[in-house]
Amino acid sequence: MSDPKRSVAFASLETGSNLSCPPAALAGRSVLIATQAQFPAALSLIALDGLAQRLVLAPPDLPQASLGTILRDAEIDTVVTDAAAHATSDFAGLDVVIADDRLVPIDPMPDDAVATEWVLATSGTTGAPKLVVHTLEGLAGAIEPVVDAAATVWGTFYDIRRYGGLQIFLRAVLGPSSLILSDADEAVGTFLDRLGRAGATHILGTPSHWRRALMSPRLSGLAPRYVRLSGEIADQAILDQLKRAFPEAHVAHAYASTEAGVGFSVDDGRAGFPADLVGARPGIEIRVRDEILQVRSVRTGRRYLGADAADLADSEGFVDTGDRVAVHEGRYVFLGRRSGLINVGGAKVQPEEVEAVLNRHPGVSMARVRGRPNPILGSLVVADIALHGRLPEGDDAAALSAELLALCRRELPAYKVPARLVFVETLPLTASGKLARGMP
């Protein structure tokens, strides 16, 4: 496993730990892992699984305001941190253990290992993060042995402290296979170079990660066998672009979430998913209620943490994903997040639907559709658009606007057509690699 600054062999973690105290001293503890970089967090997970009662992974973009809530809701008594995070956070009253990069020898793991709870924070595009309890068994439930683990090199844009990234981390550990971690401060092009030099065979990210990567000339240094998207809707445009960029690779998209766990993978290169995935299969049952995808499986989270926490699943054990779907000719398409609907005078607009239309234009790298307050209808639809090339000016901008609006008018009813298009240099992503919908 490597990041820009360091690397480690998984095998050496059986006899070494990166913690400033013996891992066994943290037996039975509720531990928050709050490091700046993901590398020491990864080592700490390996050191403490089977010992700690609970491991809570602080997400990389955790606001200070949410830290107190997490410490309370997860009943944290110990914090594993690195110098960078320690300097900026208030861990008063807690035992603090420093996670380093260097390994010190440790005793073998005792035989009476406990089933440690692994706790992840939701990426929450809106609102405060919620804490979702998983078991290692559930997290690893969808992982099948790779044919040739030794020749597999995982590379991911995801942070391993989020559900999607943690899946890749576990695949690498269980392989064991190599894993190339990204770094928050690293430019996309630099990371792509590193993936290319390491010979990454399996590369994973959100559609937004990939849209950015496709803008980089460094992409040509990659030759993956497997390319996967998850975490956001993979529209046909991004699937086709990746297939063109990597003709030799298998391009798949997957459905998973922090709460619902790994749902399914779609391997036919088409957006959406075959209707026969709805129903019961070994280990998982998927149903659609009121347009919302619901998942019941051994891989879903067990519960939310916190005294006032809501139920994670309904009385039948189904997790409501909040993702709207619709079926058309034997195939389901993802409409978008229920919480993201824009209300235009009572008519509902799903931003993702309008974005998918705009993304089909060859000049568009990435579109973001949002509501803008309007005194007559409550909201109107507006779109921010990042392009593959330079920002257009004057007549060029007007001509491109007219083309994009004509495309929208052809495909969408009038109330879904953006009232305004704004061309932007780049669109912000959240730390989890999703299009940041609430940010300027």
Binding site: N374, P375, I376, L405, A414
Partner: protein, 85 residues
């Protein structure tokens, strides 16, 4: 200077883009009796704010909505005079 020419050109643009036909825009034209629907009207208010910075609707009582083109022009002219003062 009256905002009338800007307002009328925005109305024409929005009607064109949404394939609505409008009769000649005379002062006593009642807007609700044309194809210029509430979406067009919302687009007009947004377009006017973009071009002139004026948004007389956000702060007004919806019971006082202008009925005719002339009333709409007057409303924007008042907002402009207010903004200039």
């Amino acid at each position: 200077m009256s905002v009338r020419p800007i307002l009328l050109s925005e109305m024409t643009r929005i009607a064109d883009e949404n394939q609505k036909s409008l009769p000649p825009l005379v002062d006593d034209l009642v807007m609700l009796e044309t194809e210029f629907d509430s979406l067009c009207f919302a687009l007009l208010v947004a377009g006017m704010e973009e071009r002139t910075g004026l948004d007389p609707f956000t702060e007004m009582d919806m019971a006082d909505l202008p009925v005719t083109v002339g009333e709409l022009v007057a409303l924007y002219d008042r907002a402009q005079a207010h903004a200039a003062a």
